[in-house]
Amino acid sequence: MPISLGLDAVGGPATATMASVLSPGAHLVIYAWLSGLPIHVPQGDLIGKRLEIHGFWMYYEEYLPKIRAALTEATKVVASGKLTLPITTTYKMSQIKEAIEHSQRGGKVLLDFNHQN
């Protein structure tokens, strides 16, 4: 089973693990760095398998014209019920300090504009 695409959100040694399972000519895309560490890529994988390594951010200029189509596809998957986006909690605008602190501790926090006061 060739694996032609690796999507790394961790960095550090986890990137090396991913590089080791990728197939020759595969693309390795780095889109976050949850470990906080620089990526490790063994030269044997990079050179031997000619991996192509990319950094990704959705607001790079070349993606802007493609965002609407991507959002449309994603929305269909959500509407089908096959993708749920769980949240941890919501806060009112007046609780912005608590909301930020909660977000810093982890979890998906939403600001709720519907119910002020």
Binding site: L5, F56, M58, L85
Partner: protein, 187 residues
């Protein structure tokens, strides 16, 4: 109306404040006024590229002359470049994305970044065909959940690498086809 403003640099828990600001003007040509419902707080810096106040959803309250892409009452997501942390926002109508009624307001507020990122990641680097394999990590994360669901909707096969074996069952429930525990022997 109320809005969240950055009042100083530094820790956002200290420097972001709710302030009273004047209501936006009536929308001019090509603009729409949106009453915000929800906006996610993405504060995981520096671990994820993020923009504070960069996404959210609300209900169109008024449209400017000539606007046909949205109508009053539509639930829409707010485009990148429009600051969302405010009771009402004025946005370019072309950038608003109308959300189908089956999607609730909270979910709508989270559509623009993570699910869209996932589609782009699966589209922009390799032309994948059904049954092709991809590998990802951090399978519990919001983007990875989106990647897995969207990959499955395209009939792709997904390998997930986990650090701790006790996570295997949980990750399998997300729909991945193969879970590997991180070790030098995985390949």
């Amino acid at each position: 109306m109320k809005a969240i403003h950055l009042t100083a640099y530094g820790n956002p828990a200290q420097s972001l404040m709710m302030v009273e600001v004047s209501e936006p003007n009536a929308p001019s040509a090509s603009e729409a006024l949106v009453r915000m419902e929800y906006a996610p707080i993405v504060y995981s810096e520096p671990k994820l590229p993020s923009v504070i106040g960069g996404e959210g959803a609300g209900i169109v309250e008024a449209i400017g002359p000539g606007v046909t892409s949205v109508k009053v009452g539509d639930r829409v997501t707010i485009p990148f470049g429009t600051f969302t942390w405010s009771e009402k926002v004025l946005a370019p109508a072309q950038g608003l994305f109308v959300v189908p009624p089956s999607i609730d307001a909270r979910t709508a507020s989270m559509l623009n970044i993570n699910p869209t990122t996932a589609v782009l990641l699966l589209s922009e680097f390799v032309k994948l065909k059904p049954k092709d394999w991809i590998v990802l990590n951090a399978a519990n994360s919001q983007v990875a959940r989106c990647l897995i669901a969207i990959a499955k909707s395209r009939d792709l096969n997904v390998v997930s690498i986990v650090r701790r074996p006790e996570l295997i069952l949980e990750i399998e429930k997300l729909g991945v086809d193969f879970v590997g525990v991180e070790s030098p022997e995985i390949s």
